[in-house]
């Protein structure tokens, strides 16, 4: 009896945790479909929930979603919807966009697996991450 009660509590906690996570994703990435939800990846520290998508919106001085997961060879598209220009600039400056004005886009193809951190060179407090991972690869962090 005690054992089954605590098991029930554990399941309930897990469900609550799941609901909270989904809410967090909805808040951070309205574009993500329900289909994507089970594909949530492990999250690097402090970068928000990771979302499987190849499109990133730049809005209110934020990259949304802040962490995305793609497979090798994927082309990622960024669109700036702010009235302020922004850039997509790799932390190591390996690639970078020009200053993108309102509604301008930038694309970059991620050929190899890895974790790629980038920021806005105009507003460097804006930071985000692209995780490139082969399908079925373990989500080790």
């Amino acid at each position: 009896m005690d054992r089954s009660t605590s098991f029930g509590a554990l399941v309930a906690s897990a469900l609550i945790a799941g609901v909270v996570t989904i809410c967090a994703i909805n808040a951070h990435a309205q574009a993500a479909s329900m289909h994507d939800m089970h594909n949530m990846a492990a999250t690097p520290m402090g970068t928000g929930p990771a979302v499987m998508t190849n499109t990133v919106q730049i809005r209110d001085f934020s990259f949304i979603p802040r962490t995305i997961v793609v497979t090798p060879g994927t082309t990622v598209t960024w669109t700036n919807v702010d009235d302020e220009p922004h850039t997509v600039t790799a932390n190591d400056r390996a690639y970078h966009s020009a200053a993108m004005d309102t509604d301008q886009t930038y694309t970059h193809t991620f050929a190899t697996a890895g974790e790629f951190h980038y920021f806005c060179a105009l507003h460097p407090h804006m930071t985000a991450t692209v995780i490139v991972r082969a399908p079925g690869a373990t989500q080790g962090h």
Binding site: D83, E84, T87, P124
Partner: protein
């Protein structure tokens, strides 16, 4: 800023400050007490004060090329500010432009800005904002047009009427997750530049981004500002003028007074007052109250600078 350096009289009233305040008011300028900034158009009669020392004007954040709802015509508002400066009873000795001359660093925008600003017909000392270093050469367009004869990414110093001016660049080589940055080379140059100066020399520092932690959540600060301000601590009068945040803010740290300036282009929200610091749309009749220029007067023998911010309309 005068309040902190003046000894109050027996009745607790700062007599010299009061006298000075009256003198400035009589001369058509509103004196700023304790870092406060007077606003309003008080041009008539100011020639008397100006003839005794140095007068210069600060403009900032012209953002030529910007045409969004927050200001569909930044060239027109810059023209109005230029007319405001040309209407001063005595022309300033020079102008300082504290950056974001253009919106997107294009050759066309630099050309247009130059075309407009040369109407001022007085020397202009520039520093770049982060919007001026977005060309393919990461600032080469700016340096070739406005930064000739400067060092590094465009820093330099000059002297006028016994005042030492230092123009800093804190918008280059910004680090991911960081704020504005000066870098070790520039700070080493600054230390060397200050070494030969007497501590009584008034110092004016120009920078684009704020040199104090104004609102780091929006990137409004400079990571290595403390290292740059340290060698300035021995000076009796240090005034830091910057732009970037498109609104007036003041701050005092020991002997150093900080002033951010109004833009000539478009306003931005007060720190934390909006989801982001993006261009702020206001009713058209309000816009001229949020744009303008700053006149600074330095009178020999006086410790503090008279700083007067004048909007396009009050």
């Amino acid at each position: 800023m005068s309040a902190k350096s003046e000894k109050p009289g027996h009745d607790g009233v700062d007599r010299r400050g009061v006298l000075r305040c009256g003198a400035w008011a009589g001369a058509g300028l509103l004196w700023t007490m304790a870092g406060g900034v007077a606003s309003g158009t008080v041009m008539a009669g100011s020639a008397h004060a100006a003839t005794h020392g140095l007068t210069f004007v600060q403009i900032s954040d012209t953002h030529i090329g910007f045409s969004k709802p927050a200001n569909p015509d930044t060239s027109a508002t810059l023209r109005q500010v230029i007319a405001q400066i040309k209407a001063l009873p005595r022309q300033p000795d020079f102008i300082v432009h504290t950056g974001d001359i253009t919106h997107l660093s294009t050759a066309q925008q630099f050309d247009d800005a130059h075309q407009l600003l040369q109407e001022l017909r007085v020397p202009i000392h520039y520093i770049p904002g982060e919007h001026d270093t977005q060309d393919e050469g990461q600032g080469r367009e700016y340096l070739s047009r406005f930064g000739r004869g400067t060092r590094g990414d465009g820093w330099y110093s000059f002297d006028s009427h016994g005042v030492h001016f230092i123009a800093l660049v804190n918008v280059k080589n910004l680090a991911p997750g960081g704020l504005g940055a000066l870098g070790q080379d520039q700070i080493a140059w600054l230390r060397d530049d200050l070494r030969h100066l007497r501590s009584s020399t008034p110092i004016v520092v120009l920078a684009h981004m704020p040199m104090w932690s104004l609102y780091p959540e929006w990137g409004w600060g400079t990571d290595d500002a403390a290292a740059a301000l340290e060698p300035l601590q021995r000076f009796g009068s240090v005034t830091v003028l910057n732009g970037h945040i498109h609104q007036i803010q003041q701050h005092v740290e020991g002997n150093i007074t900080f002033h951010t300036a109004r833009p000539t282009s478009y306003p931005q929200p007060a720190p934390g007052a909006a989801p982001s610091p993006g261009p702020m749309v206001v009713p058209p009749e309000q816009l001229p109250r949020m744009l303008g220029m700053r006149k600074v007067t330095v009178v020999p023998g006086r410790h503090e600078l008279a700083v007067t911010d004048t909007p396009l309309a009050s």
